[in-house]
Amino acid sequence: MSNAARGHGNTRVDHLVVAGMVTPGAKVLDVGSGDGELLRILAETRNVDGRGIEISREGVNECVAKGLAVIQGDADTDLADYPDDAFDYVILSQTLQATWQPRHVMEHMLRIAPRAIVSFPNFGHWKIRLKLLFGGRMPQTDNLPGTWYDTPNIHFCTVKDFRELCDVVGAEMEKAVALKGSGKPLRIAAPWWFWNLFGEQAVFLLKRRS
């Protein structure tokens, strides 16, 4: 969905992290499928029954031509069509920051499936903090190359912010992984403030609070 999510070029390590959180054979909805790479990895490595929603026509048509069950649609408006518990997992990979109503989207995700996986760029990373503090301008990084006026990303948040949203929407954190700029996980058990400072991206496995 977001250009930032697809702009890296090299292999998406966060995709592998996401795939590692999915039970084999599960029924999965990928919101913001992009070119279908995550769905392909999920099908190949986890044997999932995968479906997708993607906002760009080009992305959708590429996915469908690859044989993926992807539809053109908008996370902000079209999740409402899906019945309760239609899936085992709903995945929002690098798309949360591009939605109009992140809270609304998260609530629908946890309605459609008992578990949700969300990955997003952490705006609390130290480089971003420094850029804003010393540069005095909206930060641009390798992972977030867009200018503030030309980007699909309209709702940036930090790891700390996201944890608060989880509380608000009634999500229980089952697992969380912070990724370095290279996309590799931070291999140390660290307090949240540390991840919020040193994780460039975060991947959360959430469970609907019963």
Binding site: D49, R51, R57, V60, N61, C63, V64, A65, K66, G67, L68, A69, V70, I71, Q72, G73, D78, D81, Y82, P83, A86
Partner: protein, 404 residues
């Protein structure tokens, strides 16, 4: 159930009619006959019997009969989908999509295309001979629906010994049949591609059809529908109907690109009602060539069948109920400039399929060619159909070159 034939009068001579009319004896086609033991039970509450289905096949049915693809034709199409048309001598209407090495690869799949019931290319319709009277049915032919067409196709499959289709594909009225297949026979189809269509005909589209029908019926040569018996032909009326309909198949942008305001064979207006403009000349040609290959009463019946189409109405007005827990794989395709079956119609199908928990792919293809785009050279359409079918074939256990 009332036997339709009971309403017909006693037999009459057929001398005034050619015994080799395409409507009874279609050229270059196979014909399946269904006798009194196998009537077609129509939505109108009538059993049509006897009746026949004219069809074409391409490719080879494999040993397990698992590679059959049914192609459903649109309003004025027919079974000649991938081979030269016996009347017009033109290429098959979907040869860009179907054939050896094409997205619907006849080296791999066994393709079946049947003329719809109510049509005029060899399946029973208003121009066929009513065996009880020996005369063409005309308006005594019962009114048929999209579901009736699909029922007849299912009977053809029984006749061919095919339990399950690998895929059903069609655009426009063909797409309606595809959706009806998924709704009525979910166990008999593995995957479906409804293209440029809708689960119900809109008020605007019914209105267009009514204009076309009125044009036919206003032609004195229509003779109350008895023109075949009386040796007449409502050419003018049918041509006007076709001209009007043809406009709806294109788009403002496509018409402008193709014709603009260009004059036909002249540099100045004639200040008359001749076909000064190229677009007028084009439409007149479309109308006059259409009447050479199509029956006016069939046009009435088939447009009516489309008008009555409303899948949700058959399922408590909830579209999703028609596809509840459907095992069928769907690939819905629309075109940006199609104003006859706009993308919103396809999106409604997709929403219902999502609500029903069905497996659906949906792509909208950008083009300025209007509704007709589904019949034209659209590389993105071909890539999507090929990709969807390849994945479905894999899931269905069809290997490459499974033609034998």
């Amino acid at each position: 159930m009332v036997e339709a034939n009971l309403s017909a009068k006693t037999s009459a001579k057929t001398d005034d009619l050619s015994p080799t009319r395409d409507s009874d004896h279609p050229r270059d086609s196979l014909v399946a006959q269904f006798g009194a033991d196998r009537p077609l039970k129509l939505d109108a509450g009538i059993a049509l019997s006897p009746f026949q289905i004219a069809y074409k096949t391409y490719g080879q049915l494999n040993a397990t009969k698992s590679n059959a693809v049914l192609v459903c034709h649109a309003l004025t199409g027919d079974q000649h989908v991938a081979s030269v048309h016996p009347v017009t001598k033109k290429n098959g209407w979907w040869e860009t999509l179907i054939g050896s090495g094409r997205p619907i690869d006849t080296e791999r799949y066994f393709v079946i295309c049947a003329n719809v019931v109510g049509g005029c290319m060899g399946s029973s319709g208003p121009s066929s001979t009513n065996t009880q009277t020996g005369k063409p049915w005309g308006l005594e032919f019962p009114v048929i629906t999209i579901r009736d067409m699909v029922r007849a196709q299912a009977m053809l499959l029984d006749h061919l010994g095919i339990d399950q289709l690998f895929a059903v594909v069609g655009g426009s009225m063909g797409g309606m049949q595809v959706l009806e297949w998924a709704a009525s026979y979910p166990q008999r189809v593995f995957s479906v591609l409804p293209i440029a269509c809708s689960t119900r005909h809109s008020a605007q589209n019914i209105a267009f059809h009514e204009v076309g029908r009125q044009a036919v019926m206003a032609d004195p040569e229509w003779r109350g529908g008895r023109y075949l018996i009386e040796g007449a032909n409502p050419r003018r009326g049918l041509a006007v109907a076709r001209m009007g309909a043809h406009i709806t198949y294109l788009s403002d942008a496509a018409l402008h690109r193709k014709f603009g305001r260009k004059f036909q064979d002249r540099t100045n207006p004639t200040f008359s009602f001749d076909a000064d403009f190229e677009v007028e000349s084009y439409l007149r040609h479309q109308g006059s060539s259409f009447v050479e290959r199509f029956d006016a009463n069939s046009y009435l019946y088939l447009t009516r069948a489309m008008d009555y189409f409303d899948i949700a109405a058959d399922h408590d007005d909830v579209l999703a109920n028609a596809f509840k827990n459907s095992p069928v794989r769907f690939c819905v395709i629309s075109f940006t400039s199609d104003w006859l079956f706009p993308t919103a119609d396809s999106r409604a199908i997709v929403h219902a399929l999502n609500a029903a928990g069905a497996r659906v792919s949906f792509a909208e293809i950008k083009t300025d060619k209007g509704h007709d785009a589904f019949l034209l050279d659209e590389p993105e359409l071909f890539a999507i159909v090929r990709g969807f079918l390849d994945a479905a074939a894999k899931a269905h256990g069809l290997t490459n070159g499974a033609g034998h």
